[in-house]
C-alpha cells in the first residue's frame, strides 16, 4: 500500500458553476481477479483538458476503459452526460482515440479519408452509410487535424504523428464532445508531438471539446493540460496543472523515500513522467 504524503485535491472545484459531463463515484475495477483501481471519485466538466498520468500498471487505461463502459465496475458508478456508459443516449458524444502506433493494423491499406469516414458510422447507419450527408463532417475533421494534403494517402505511408492525427480525425468525424485519448504521444517525434498538443489545445479552446488524455510524457502534458490527475491505484493528486507536485513530492506520494541522506530531483526514482522517453522513441522513428 502506497503511503499518502499529500491529500488528494479534487478537480471539481475548478468549474463549480457547471454540471459535470463525467461523474465517477467510488469506483473500483478488477482485472483477472486483481483489484487494479479503487476509490476513484472524479468529476469532469465541459471544456476541460485533463492530463491523466501515473506509472506503468497504475490503472490509467483501466480507468479509461471503465469510463467507456468496456470494463465493468466492481463497485461504484460511472455517469456520462447523466447516463450509463455505452447507453444509446450518449452514442456519438464520446470519442475514443487509441494509440495509433500500437493499435492500427500494419497490413491494412486504408487512406486517411477512408479511416476518418469510419468515424461517422453508428449502429443506425452502419448498413447504408450516408456518405453524402457526412462528407462535410469528414472534410472538416480532415481540415481540423491538418491532413488535407495527405487525405488520399495510405496511412501506412504517414509519419507516426500524422497517423495519430488521422485517428483523432476519426473521433472528430463522429462529432464527439468528450474525447478520451490513450497515450497518443507514443512513437511520435518532437515536432509532431508539439503540433499534436497544439491541435488538442485548439480543439479544447476553439471547438469546445473536453479532453481526457493519458500520457506518460509529463513534460509535454503539463504544457497543455489545465488539470492534472495522478493515478496510482487510486487518485493521488487531482488539481490545476500549476499545482501539480514536483518529482520529489510525487515520489513522496508514491511512498518512495530518499535512499541517500539528500534528494536530487533529477535522480529521484520516479518513472511516471519519463519526459525523454517519447522524444527518444520519436527520434528513433524519424531515423
Amino acid at each position: 500500500m502506497v503511503v499518502l504524503n499529500m491529500q488528494p485535491q479534487t478537480g471539481s472545484g475548478l468549474r463549480p458553476d457547471l454540471m459535470p459531463i463525467l461523474k465517477v463515484k467510488d469506483l473500483s475495477v478488477s482485472r483477472s481477479g486483481k483489484l487494479v483501481i479503487y476509490g476513484i471519485n472524479l468529476e469532469v466538466f465541459k471544456g476541460e483538458f485533463i492530463g491523466l498520468v501515473g506509472p506503468n500498471g497504475s490503472g490509467k487505461s483501466t480507468l479509461l476503459l471503465a469510463i467507456l463502459g468496456v470494463l465493468k465496475a466492481q463497485q461504484g458508478t460511472v455517469s456520462l452526460y447523466g447516463h450509463r456508459p455505452m447507453s444509446r443516449n450518449i452514442l456519438g458524444k464520446i470519442g475514443w482515440v487509441s494509440q495509433a502506433a500500437a493499435v492500427m493494423p500494419k497490413n491494412v491499406r486504408i487512406t486517411v479519408r477512408e479511416l476518418i469516414q469510419l468515424g461517422t458510422l453508428t449502429s443506425r447507419n452502419m448498413f447504408f452509410p450516408r456518405k453524402a450527408i457526412h462528407r462535410q463532417r469528414v472534410e472538416n475533421a480532415i481540415k481540423m487535424v491538418g491532413l488535407e494534403d495527405v487525405a488520399d494517402n495510405d496511412i501506412v505511408h504517414l509519419s507516426g504523428g500524422q497517423r495519430q492525427r488521422a485517428v483523432i480525425g476519426r473521433a472528430l468525424a463522429s462529432n464527439s464532445q468528450f474525447i478520451l485519448l490513450d497515450e497518443p504521444l507514443v512513437g511520435i517525434d518532437r515536432d509532431s508531438r508539439n503540433a499534436l498538443l497544439k491541435l488538442l489545445d485548439r480543439l479544447c479552446h476553439e471547438e469546445d471539446k473536453t479532453i481526457l488524455m493519458v500520457s506518460h510524457d509529463l513534460a509535454a502534458i503539463r504544457q497543455t493540460a489545465h488539470r492534472m490527475i495522478y493515478l496510482e491505484e487510486t487518485i493521488r493528486f487531482d488539481g490545476p496543472t500549476e499545482e501539480f507536485p514536483d518529482l520529489t513530492t510525487l515520489a513522496g506520494l508514491r511512498g518512495i523515500e530518499p535512499v541517500h541522506g539528500h534528494t536530487h530531483e533529477h535522480t529521484t526514482p520516479v518513472n511516471v513522467d519519463a519526459p525523454n522517453d517519447g522524444e527518444e522513441e520519436g527520434e528513433k522513428e524519424e531515423e
Binding site: L68, I94, P105, R109, S123, H157
Partner: protein
C-alpha cells in the same frame, strides 16, 4: 444459369483454344464456369477482410472441416454432401469465433484443433463406414468443377450472392471493427455480432468453394488474389478491386490452361494465382530497389 447462358454463348466465338470454348457453349462446362466466377467474386472481397483481420488460415481450416462434413454426408448417402459440409463449417466457425473472443484459446489454436479434429472425423468415418478415399471424395479434396450439378450450382450461387450482398452491407462496419474494435464499440457498433456474422459468411463461402477448387486449395482463391491486390492497392477499396481482377484472371487463365493441357482445374487455378502473386511481388521489389530506390514506400 438462364441469365448467364446467352452471355456465355455470345462470348464463345472470341475465346481462344480448342477445348476452353466449351466452357461457354456446353451446359456442363457453363455450370462450372458460372460457379467458378461467382465464388471468385465473393472470395476476393472476403479474402481482403480475412487478410486485414489476420485470419488468412481460417479458410484453410474451415475447408478441412468442410471435407469432414462431405465425408459424413457421402457415408450417409446424401445426394448433395455440401449441405453436410455447410452445417459442419458454420458450426465450427461459430465455435472458433466464440473460443477466440472469449479468449479461451488464443491465435490460430482453435482453428488448428477444428481443422484436424473434423478432418480426422471424416477420414475415420470414410474408412470404417465408407469405401475410403474414392474418386468422388477426391473431387472435394482437389476440386471437381465439371461434376457440379444443378443442385450444387444452386447452393453455390445462393451462398455466393447472399454472402456478397451481406459483405457489401457490412463493408463499413467490418472495416471499422477490423481497424480499431474498441473505437467501433465506443461508436455503438455491434462489434461482436459483426464478427459472428463474418465468421458464418466465411464458413458458407468456403463450403461453396470446396467443389470448385478443392478443400486443399481453397486458400488459393480466398487469400492469394487479395494478397496480390494488397501489394498494389493504395486504399482498401482499390485493394478489393485489384483482388477481383487477379482472382478472375487466375480463374480464366487457370481454366484455359487446365482445359488445353488436361491438368486439374483446381490445381491450375491455384498455380496461376500463386504465379501472379510472385510476378507482382517481383515487379514491386524491382521497382523499389532498382527503378525508384529513393522512394521509401513499402
Amino acid at each position: 444459369m438462364e441469365v448467364a447462358k446467352p452471355v456465355l454463348e455470345f462470348i464463345a466465338p472470341m475465346v481462344p483454344g480448342e477445348i476452353f470454348p466449351y466452357f461457354f457453349t456446353m451446359e456442363m462446362f457453363q455450370r462450372a464456369l458460372v460457379a467458378a466466377v461467382l465464388v471468385t467474386l465473393v472470395a476476393g472481397v472476403l479474402g481482403s477482410f480475412l487478410l486485414v483481420r489476420n485470419l488468412a488460415l481460417i479458410g484453410d481450416g474451415l475447408a478441412h472441416v468442410s471435407f469432414g462434413g462431405v465425408a459424413v454426408g457421402v457415408v450417409l448417402g446424401a445426394s448433395s454432401p455440401l449441405w453436410y459440409a455447410l452445417v459442419f463449417s458454420v458450426v465450427s466457425a461459430i465455435l472458433i469465433h466464440e473460443l477466440q473472443t472469449r479468449e479461451l484459446l488464443t491465435g490460430d489454436a482453435s482453428i488448428a484443433i477444428f481443422l484436424t479434429g473434423m478432418l480426422a472425423l471424416g477420414l475415420v468415418v470414410l474408412r470404417v463406414f465408407g469405401g475410403g478415399i474414392t474418386s468422388d471424395i477426391e473431387g472435394y479434396l482437389f476440386g471437381s468443377l465439371l461434376l457440379i450439378d444443378e443442385e450444387s450450382l444452386d447452393l453455390i450461387a445462393t451462398i455466393s450472392i447472399v454472402s456478397l450482398i451481406s459483405l457489401m452491407l457490412l463493408y463499413s462496419g467490418l472495416l471499422s471493427t477490423t481497424i480499431d474494435p474498441l473505437a467501433a464499440r465506443v461508436q455503438g457498433l455491434p462489434v461482436r455480432a459483426i464478427g459472428l456474422v463474418f465468421s458464418i459468411i466465411t464458413a458458407a463461402v468456403v463450403v461453396s468453394m470446396v467443389q470448385v477448387i478443392g478443400a486443399l486449395l481453397v486458400t488459393a482463391l480466398l487469400v492469394t488474389p487479395a494478397a496480390t491486390g494488397g501489394l498494389i492497392g493504395r486504399s482498401f477499396r482499390s485493394c478489393l478491386i485489384w483482388a477481383q481482377i487477379f482472382g478472375l484472371s487466375s480463374v480464366f487463365l487457370g481454366l484455359y490452361l487446365s482445359a488445353e493441357y488436361d491438368s486439374g482445374s483446381g490445381a491450375m487455378i491455384a498455380l496461376v494465382a500463386a504465379s501472379i502473386f510472385a510476378a507482382v511481388a517481383i515487379m514491386q521489389i524491382v521497382w523499389k530497389t532498382i527503378i525508384r530506390p529513393s522512394d521509401n514506400w513499402n
